[in-house]
Subunit: 654 residues, 2 copies
Amino acid sequence: MEGRSEEWFETKEMDIRSMPSSRHASLPYRVGVPPKQNFWTEFSSTVKETFFSDDPLHSFKDQSRSRKFVLGVQAVFPILEWGKRYNLTKFKGDLIAGLTIASLCIPQDIGYSKLANLSPQYGLYSSFVPPLVYALMGSSRDIAIGPVAVVSLLLGTLLQNEIDPIKHPFEYRRLAFTATFFAGITQATLGILRLGFLIDFLSHAAVVGFMGGAAITIALQQLKGFLGIKNFTKKTDIISVMQSIFSSASHGWNWPTIVIAAAFLVFLLVAKYIGKKKKKLFWVPAIAPLVSVVLSTYFVYITHAEKKGVQIVKHIEKGINPPSVSEIYFTGDYLLKGVKIGLVAGIIALTEAVAIGRTFAGMKDYQIDGNKEMVALGAMNIAGSMTSCYVATGSFSRSAVNYMAGCQTAISNIVMSVVVFLTLQFFTPLFEYTPNAILSSIIISAVIGLIDYDAAVLIWKIDKFDFIACMGAFFGVVFASVEIGLLIAVSISFAKLLLQVTRPRTAILGKIPRTNVYRNIQQYPEASKVPGVVIVRVDSAIYFSNSNYIKERILRWLTAEEEQLTAAGLPKIQFLIIEMSPVTDIDTSGIHAVEELLRSLQKRDVELVLANPGPVVMDKVHASNLASLIGEEKIFLTVADAIQTCSPKFAEVV
Amino acid sequence: MEGRSEEWFETKEMDIRSMPSSRHASLPYRVGVPPKQNFWTEFSSTVKETFFSDDPLHSFKDQSRSRKFVLGVQAVFPILEWGKRYNLTKFKGDLIAGLTIASLCIPQDIGYSKLANLSPQYGLYSSFVPPLVYALMGSSRDIAIGPVAVVSLLLGTLLQNEIDPIKHPFEYRRLAFTATFFAGITQATLGILRLGFLIDFLSHAAVVGFMGGAAITIALQQLKGFLGIKNFTKKTDIISVMQSIFSSASHGWNWPTIVIAAAFLVFLLVAKYIGKKKKKLFWVPAIAPLVSVVLSTYFVYITHAEKKGVQIVKHIEKGINPPSVSEIYFTGDYLLKGVKIGLVAGIIALTEAVAIGRTFAGMKDYQIDGNKEMVALGAMNIAGSMTSCYVATGSFSRSAVNYMAGCQTAISNIVMSVVVFLTLQFFTPLFEYTPNAILSSIIISAVIGLIDYDAAVLIWKIDKFDFIACMGAFFGVVFASVEIGLLIAVSISFAKLLLQVTRPRTAILGKIPRTNVYRNIQQYPEASKVPGVVIVRVDSAIYFSNSNYIKERILRWLTAEEEQLTAAGLPKIQFLIIEMSPVTDIDTSGIHAVEELLRSLQKRDVELVLANPGPVVMDKVHASNLASLIGEEKIFLTVADAIQTCSPKFAEVV
């Protein structure tokens, strides 16, 4: 086959050589100039691609008016759509899954509300109302809604920067509801304005680093309960926490607490390990926390260990969520602070929920509309803020349990919600003797799963820059604070995007032997350069941010080539071909840069040739008169075509 | 020729048809996997491309140690290098150019210092020290250094937001020097850290809009002097200014002032027109301002028009720049404010100077190192801040005059500086009777040139998004303030860059008749789709910000194609080929997205095929194990190769 291909090309080149000299008249193919687009068509298509890229109105097309109304209501409340097909088999799955995640969420909720510096019942409240709202409006079938560790920590840190939760518990709680309200508003607004893509700016790598750092920070915070320390730092960085721990080592550690905590932590980790080894035993780690709570509570109750310094939960308010609309700050200084905190917490909560939704939708192969999902999450948090809940979102660990327990629809969230309701109504007094240490152990064993070591290794393998973002976020959270970590993650992510459009790659192309294909000579070392011609490929749109760089980089390639040729005593460069395939767009600065390049080349007696400019570039090259400056006949469909004109002799050589 | 090419391809396709079925074993060409790069090599090459893309140490290579030292000193003080070749012919050119720009700068300086709310001598001071420093350190041969309108206005606006220049002139001046000092520090730091490329983020379009808006604002401000109004608004937006003018129309306008101002404005504009029509008469508009000043001063002196309400300059401090090091705020509240103002003013001043430097260097075809230039400008402003100067930079209008007057080197700046020195020492009392109205006319006629109407039209033609940035900056400056305009310009510019990496273009490709080339069917409507195959080209690196979009967009293309096929009763799609030529990079999120795409396609019984992944992508596809998931044999060098495997029958059709 390879032998044959050589033959073809030889035949082809022979034909070219035997052609009349006026090759320009019979170019193989003209570069297409797309029909001039109306400004509004262009503008509206950009808007559509940006905000409606998923074509959300596709199902509404060609429907009757009443049908459109029904579809519209169903779009807001998907339960009306899938509810019609709901049956007993599905309910069986949902019931088991719902009971499992309920047993997991109750101890977690009590622990997480401590991270947010709130009383234990607020965690339970947040597992009652939000899951109900989500079940009506959400479209993920596998997500488990409720308070989560990272958002609780973030909210707690941001809130205590403003108000001391111990000195002013009432104002603190009001600000928490305010932040929750605006977190919901932020989420719903992003969804309604179809700006959901903004959360994509938090890169996967940054999220991995941030979550890992947050897990470490949360685990460190739990050492307070785990070791029974009373005076603990309020800072979350590892250095302050370690100082706090070691300074209290001689007198502040409570040994009975440590024994209980360590014993149950071992139990929880063993349960986790069993669940990991045998997928069928997923329920072991799922119910282990509740079992620990029951056992340890009973143990403290009979031994009265609380008199030996083992701290206990003491009191959880009985009864379901009291209304809290009137507690939200709608005026005053705290309004703005609530908005800011809500914005940050809302976006982080979104990131987590959307990632979960996408992951499980991918596994079961159904579609999730990110923007609709955000509206559902926003509505749920707005409703939550009015019923004494703090920011709820999808929990990684509980969603995984939900999935493995065989949930079918969001009904499993309703089941969980009912169990939490019963707990709030009847069982809260039972938690009186629950030791705080057990909650710490439960949280530690839960957050360990957030440290995704494998993902970090994969990131290192694939993309070093991503790894820097990941580590920046991780160390930022661990050594400074969650906000700083977040800021580092976002900044590095943005820097990466901007670097791409500031310093795009360029490559010298050569002809691949026995083909008509020109490729990067770094990737294909066997590709041969064409004598007298430099072929440069520019790997990015040419925009103001890179136009000067690209111009100078191309001239630098040319200078380097010329120096080599002069050193070797070879003839000088006559043509510079720019392969424009990857140049998807060019703006005014880009056009100017190409003009300047053209002038510099003319002074050096080098002709500029373009190969394969795309539709947008062709349009602008014509609009700006650059086409006539370069010469229409010097714009080719492919590099091969350009070479046939610039260096017909090269064909004979190969 | 076209007939023949058909023949070739038929022969070629015949060969393929007659080939054994095990085509995979004899692929035309394997996609190259670049050799694995060491992390540090990769990292250092990225750093080099980012910060040292212009290879500034090229001339230092292979030099002796003492030679390197000499080159190093020459790099900081280019005058040592070009000074050796300086001769009388060059000096003749510089002398004439220097005298011309001096005559232009003296009246402008006095006017511009008013824009900065400073006494007239500070403008002159800023045309004495900075040009001298620049002449030693700068590498542009054509730039004319001194105060400029836009920076003066910007500085004046920002400073008076902090301190009232009339009530607290001393503190105001101190803050001005502080801002100048930190403007210099900013400029020098950007240069030393080789972050000069950051100013490229102010797009050409945004600068055009900003300059135009600033010109209008400055011209409007001049109506105070032009109409002889005493109580004038401090705001710079057009609405406040217009209200201020019309409310004082009945009693506040001074008619003798208006007559003088209008008469000389006409004179200046006529001079400008003459200069534009006949390039040889460039000196007419250049000396017209000084002539106006002399004539109008003499006129006021003999008629004593100042007694009829014509405001005059009154007093300009005699003598050269007093030292001002001790006046710079190095502590206290004003330090931070000075840093902020200096940062903004410094960057705007840089943008102007670098644009001028590049323009004239391009015209005379010499190289300018942007980063070295920034160090020179920074050093000049630091020196200036210690000698009672405010922020100086390159002036568009004076640089153009300098160029046309035949300047050869930066010596013309020294000549100008000497003239300003003589003026400060001996001639300032002569300006006592100079009417303010004349200065207003001079400024109006100078800033009119900043409104680049043609550039705006060109921007509209080439790129609508750029035009929005341009107009945003323009109207922001005119209707709000210079800061708001600047903020709008920068935000829109960034939004554009981010949009590109968030919503990249994708295109469906088809085979161009009688070739082996596959191109966008929108650009080439005659290109034909391959039955059973969808070929999608992705026009951007696949990063976290767009990976989800790209995945969903490709699936949407597929769905749309399948719907069409089903409607037409044609066989379904079997292969999805992604043309990866423009995909210059992929990160972890991108790899995940491709994996998810692969899974979705497998569920639809569609095979994923990649064409022409670049070196970086191949590297990562291998590092992440994606290569084996897709199958090495489904990665091709070109779309044509892929089609030969996927749809060999298609060859017969064409």
